[in-house]
Symmetry: C2
Amino acid sequence: MAEATTRRRGGGGAARRAERTAVSIETAKFIERNIPLYEVLNDEALEVIEANAETILEEVGVNFVDNPVALDRWREAGADIDGERVRIPRGLARKLCSTAPSRYTQHARNPERNVEIGGNTLVFAPVYGPPFVRDMEGGRRYATMDDFKKFVKLGYMSKWLHHSGGTVCEPTDVPVNKRHLDMLQAHMTLSDKPFMGSVTEASRAQDSVEMCEILFGKDFVQENTVMTSLINVNSPMTFDDVMMGSLEVYAKNNQACIISPFIVGGAMAPVSVAGTLTQVLAEVLAGIAYSQLIRPGAPVIFGAFVTSIDMNSGAPTFGTPEASHILYGAGQLARRMGLPFRSGGGLCGSKLPDAQSAYETAHTHNAALLGGVNFMLHSCGWLEGGLVSSFEKFVLDADQLGVLHHIARGISVDENAQAMDAIREVGPGGHYLGCAHTQANFKNAFWRTNVFDYKPFETWSEEGERDSMTLANIKVKEMLANYQQPALDPAIAEALESYVANKKASMPDAFS
Amino acid sequence: MAEATTRRRGGGGAARRAERTAVSIETAKFIERNIPLYEVLNDEALEVIEANAETILEEVGVNFVDNPVALDRWREAGADIDGERVRIPRGLARKLCSTAPSRYTQHARNPERNVEIGGNTLVFAPVYGPPFVRDMEGGRRYATMDDFKKFVKLGYMSKWLHHSGGTVCEPTDVPVNKRHLDMLQAHMTLSDKPFMGSVTEASRAQDSVEMCEILFGKDFVQENTVMTSLINVNSPMTFDDVMMGSLEVYAKNNQACIISPFIVGGAMAPVSVAGTLTQVLAEVLAGIAYSQLIRPGAPVIFGAFVTSIDMNSGAPTFGTPEASHILYGAGQLARRMGLPFRSGGGLCGSKLPDAQSAYETAHTHNAALLGGVNFMLHSCGWLEGGLVSSFEKFVLDADQLGVLHHIARGISVDENAQAMDAIREVGPGGHYLGCAHTQANFKNAFWRTNVFDYKPFETWSEEGERDSMTLANIKVKEMLANYQQPALDPAIAEALESYVANKKASMPDAFS
C-alpha cells in the first residue's frame, strides 16, 4: 500500500482540523485475489468451444486487411493464405500463443504504482474512448482536453484505481493527428500511475514509445513493459491494418497489448453465448498468435468486450445476463491458455448515473471480479454505452472498486477472526459495540463508502434530500480542488513538452 | 411457465395494437439453477466455524425467554437448563435438525404458482416489514392498507416474482392487533401467488392457519405447506416468546418457517465475518432443532439476515463486501446441513431509488444468486435500510429479477447454440443481423428489460431526459391501471370476509 498524505500547514486546532480534512492520494495496491473464481462452463463445454474455434480458424479463417507483411508472416508460420484470408491449421495458433507470458509487470514512473497483470491479480483502469462528457452542470457535450485532464486528475486521486488508463475521453478540440501527444503528456505529468499508449495509427504508437523513452529512459523501455494498449479486433474475424500496425510497434518494443474482440452479440457474433464465445476464442487465438509472430514473448492480454444487442431497438445493452455468461466463459478460456484476461468494467447503457446505470455496472463489476478478469478497462466513468465519460459516475464507480477490493480479500478464519472470546464475553442478549474484540478490530473490519449517503433520514432530509448523482458531483469538485500534481524531474517534463511541441509543428492539423 | 394474457377487444389494426400493448400477468416458474454455486470458504474454514458453533451452544448456550414449555422440551431432549439459558451438548442440535426436509413445496391457491424451496431452486418474495412507503408524488409517509394492497397488486403483476410475500409494508392505519387479518385477506384475494403468515403473536399465527383452512380446505392445510413465515432470532442467541409462540403454531401445523438470525454485524455479532458466521450457525442450529422438537419433519429454512454497521455513524449498511462474504459462507453452512437457505434480497441503505440503491441491491442480488439462496425475501421494493417500501424500486428490482432468471439458465452448448453454421455463413467482415440462425433465435436469445431506457439519445432527450426513477414511476401507474383481480370462488371470498369481520369484532383496537 503506497501512501502519500499531504497536510495543510497550521498549528494546534487548525492542524488537527487540517489532519481530519487532509487530502488523501493514497492508492491501493492492485488486487491479488484471495477468493476462488466462478466457473460457469464444465470441461466438456469448454472442449466443444475450443474445438469449434480451431474449426473456424482452419475452415473459415480470418482476414488481415491491407497488410501484406502480416500475410507473409502467416505464410511462413504455416498458414494457408488466400487473398487476405488466413486459414490456420488446427493447433497452430494455440501453439504460437504459448510463448506469451502468463503474467507481466507494467511499470509506472512511481514504482509503488507498478501493476502486475495475470494470475490472481486484478488491475482497475478507467473508461476509455467516449467522444462526449457529462456532468450535472454542463450536461452532455463534446469532450475537450480540459475534460481529459480533469479525468486524469480524478483517476490519480482515486484510491481504488490502479491505472490512469488511455483515452479517458476523446479531446475533440485537439486535431485528431495530434491529440495522442497531449493525452500521453497528461498521463505522464498529471499522474504517476501506469497508462496506455495510442493505437490510432502505427506512427502514434511509435510516438507513445518515444515519449516513454523520455519518461523512463530508453534502455528501461526496451527491457520493461511500460504501456498496456488496446488492440480491438474488427469482429467478425477481421484484423485491420491500423490496429495491426500499432500492435506491431508495441510487440516489437516489448510493450503489452490487449487483443480484444469488440462484439455486439447478435450483430458481430452469433445470437448465442456459446457461438459468441467460439468466435471470441478464434479471434483471440489468431490475434495473439500474430503478436508472437512479431516477437515471441511479447506480453499480451486475452480480451473480450462483448455486449448484446436489444433486438427491439438495435441498441447495444450492458450488464445483461448474457454479458455475464460470456465474461465467465471467456475467463475460463483465457485461463486454459494461461493468459491474462481483460473484460468487464463499469458498463451500462443508461444516459444518466441513475439506478439503471448502477444495476448494470454492478452486474459487470461482480462478474469481472468472480470471473477472473486481470485487467478491467472502463472500471469507472463509463456512461451511455461508452459514448459518454461521466464525471459523477467516475466517482461513484471508483468508490465501488473498493467493494471489489474487499470482497477479493476473502474471509480470514484466524483466531482473531473467529472472535470466540467476544462471543463468550457478550453472551445471549448482550451487544458487541463496546467489547474488547470490537474495539481492537472495528477500524479495519468493514469497507466504507467515500460518497454514498449513510446519514439518518432527518439529516439527509435537512440537507436537501440529495441523491447519489448530487453527492458525487460534490465529490468531483472536492477532488479536483484538492488535486496536487505528483513531482516529476523538471528536465523530463521539459523534454516531454518539447517532444510534443516539435511533433505538433512537424505536421498540419487533421480533424478526421 | 404459467401464462394468462388478457387482450383488449377490437378488430383489425386496433386488435394488433391491443396485442402489442396487452396486459401480461404471466409469472415465471421459480428458478431451478442450471449453474454452479460460488463457494468462498474451504472445508477447513467451514469445519472451524462448525466446531466453534458447537462450542457456543455447549459452553455459552442460548436463551429461551418467557417460555417454560420450551425449556421443558429442551430438558427432555438432553440439553442443560440453567434459568432461561439452554446449553446444548455437542452434536445434539445438529442431530435434531436432521429430521427437517431438504426441500418442500409451498402451495399457492393457483397450483401453477406453487413454489419449491430447497436444493437447486430460488424463489423470489418482495420486501417485508417497512413502516413507511415512498413514491415520487407522495414522498416518504407512513404506510396504509391502501398502499399494502397496491404492493400486493404490483407483486401479482410482476412476471419474475414468484411469491406475494407477507408484510409488504406495515398498514399503520389498521389497529396492530387486526392488521394481520387485512393483510392476509389481501394476499389471498388480490393475488394467487403463495404468501407468508403472521408472526407478531401466536394467536395471529393461529388466525393465519385458520384463514388458510378457509382458502385451501382444512385437510389440505394439514397435509400440505401453504405458508412460509419469518421467525427472527433476537441476536445474540435469544429466542423470545412471541417469535417462538408463532413458530410453535406453524410447526405444529406443518407450515414452514424461516429461522433467521437478524444481525447488524459489529452490534449484534462480532465485528468479523468468521465470528458472525459462527454465531449465525449456532443460532440457526438451536432454532431449527427447536422446530423439530415441536414436530419432527416440520419444514424450515436456514435464514441469515446480516448487515454490517457503519462504525462512523452507527448506521446499518447494505450491499457491502462483508455482507457478500457472510451470504456466501452461510449458504455453504446451510448446504452442509442439507437445508433450504434464505438470505439476500434487494437490500440497500439509500433513501431514494438512485445509483447507491442499485449498486447495493445488485451486489446483494448477485451474491444471493451465486451463493445458493433458495428463498429470497426483500427481493424487490426495499429502500432505506428496510424502513421504506418504495413503489418505484419495487418495479426496478422486479425487472432485475429477470436478469437473475436468465443467468441461472446457464449456457447451452447444443448444436443450435454452437452456431457454427452462422459463423460459416457470415464469415470475416460480415454481420449476423440477417442470417438464418439469428432469425431463428433472436426472440428468446437475450433478456430484455421492461423498464430501463434503451432509446437513442435524441429520443430520450426529446422525451424529457427521464431517469430510472421516473420511468419506474410511469410503470407503477401502468401496472396498477392494468391490474385485474384473479378469480376466486365467491363462497371462499365471502367466508374470508366474514372470518375477518368476526375476528375484528371480537376484540378492541390496539395500536401498540
